[in-house]
């Protein structure tokens, strides 16, 4: 491989890279799996919302205006976060692969810029509203639930929050890195 023509000829004559029937079947299988995965995501989303509403009714939060508002706030911000995430996933899926490389790269850059905006503006607002809702609810939990369940809610609330912040922070860091890489070229 000492001149380009030689490299090119070796490149084009690489052995053992033919497509197989198995590979072709996998393409169709994976296509169907992706469609099913989308349906599963929708089902999980539906179940999550049902659980939240169920919990709302279980603790009889509707009897108290303040409790209704705070639990409603928590549910709304959770749903808002899920919707933002789903829209974002659809945006990424919707990037047009028929575009030329330069335009495609610009679309990708636009997508990651929007993601970073979400992480820096919307996510902190959502987290803050969630924590406010949670703190307002604490006295109601303490009064209405057994001490064991109350402790469980306190501990799990903090764990979920810390875990959530950690996961979101990691995702934001990863996407910021991708954005920097795309912008550096």
């Amino acid at each position: 491989m000492n001149n380009f023509e030689n490299i090119q000829s070796e490149w084009q004559n690489q052995p053992d890279i033919e497509g197989t029937d198995k590979g072709l079947k996998e393409v169709f299988k994976k296509t169907n799996e992706l469609k099913n995965k989308q349906q599963i995501t929708n089902i999980i989303l539906g179940i999550t919302i049902a659980i939240l509403i169920g919990f709302f009714l279980y603790v009889k939060a509707y009897l108290e205006v303040k409790a209704t508002l705070s639990l409603g706030l928590m549910i709304m911000v959770l749903i808002a976060r899920i919707i933002i995430e789903l829209l974002s996933i659809n945006n990424l899926k919707g990037i047009n692969y028929n575009l030329d490389f330069k335009s495609f790269k610009e679309s990708l850059l636009g997508y990651y810029k929007r993601r970073v905006t979400t992480h820096y503006i919307f996510t902190p607002i959502i987290l803050l509203l969630y924590v406010i809702g949670f703190l307002i609810l604490m006295p109601y939990f303490e009064a209405g639930l057994s001490s064991g369940f109350y402790t469980y809610i306190q501990v799990s609330g903090v764990i979920v929050l810390v875990l959530g912040v950690f996961l979101i922070f990691n995702q934001a860091k990863k996407e910021l890195y991708i954005l920097k890489e795309l912008m550096s070229e």
Binding site: M1, N2, N3, F4, I7, Q8, E10, W11, Q12, Q14, I17, E18, G19, G23, L24, E26, V27, F28, K30, T31, L34, N96, Y97, N98, L99, D100, F101, K102, S103, F104, K105, L108, Y177, I178, E181, L182, E185
Partner: protein, 162 residues
């Protein structure tokens, strides 16, 4: 488009797609196969949008470089290696070993290039007419010609260890 026509598209274009993917993943065959599968899923999903303004191969090359760009950006930290397990290596004769080592060097040199230059040189290695490469990349033909000369020179020097 029915499945039978897609089978033809798949078998005719798979080696081209696979070579490009191998170039993007440092010659790692398993990762390249996954990536090639991803490309053909997108080809199948987007066939209805294919407007026949270019040949189907050119269109598939376009989807391939775009899919590989996303892969490269979102899997940057994934370790890419084309090393074979030691027990398999024993059975490989010298010729194959020599060829593999040359390709390893070539893949390393390709992966030193930036995204744009990598896509350009991989398409040039495929022997695509430069006008089609310019169309796939989205830059004008004259600019591309100048760039290709520079990249070819850089790649050849790198492969020859100069």
């Amino acid at each position: 488009m029915n499945q039978e026509n897609f089978n033809i598209i798949y078998s005719e274009n798979y080696p081209k797609v696979m070579r490009l993917c191998l170039g993007y993943v440092n010659g790692n065959k398993v990762q390249a196969q996954d990536l090639a599968q991803d490309v053909f899923i997108k080809v199948w999903d987007n066939l209805k949008n294919f407007r026949k303004e270019s040949s189907i191969s050119t269109w598939i090359y376009r989807i391939t470089v775009n899919t590989c760009l996303i892969y490269l950006r979102t899997n940057k930290k994934r370790k890419t290696t084309n090393n074979l397990p030691p027990d398999l290596k024993i059975h490989i004769d010298n010729d194959v070993e020599n060829r593999e080592s040359k390709f390893k060097q070539l893949y390393n040199c390709i992966n030193k290039l930036n995204d744009d230059n990598k896509a350009i040189i991989l398409l040039e290695l495929e022997g695509l007419p430069q006008k089609e490469i310019a169309e796939i990349i989205g830059i004008n033909y004259e600019t591309l010609r100048v760039r290709i000369c520079r990249i070819k020179d850089k790649l050849t020097k790198c492969v020859s260890n100069e």
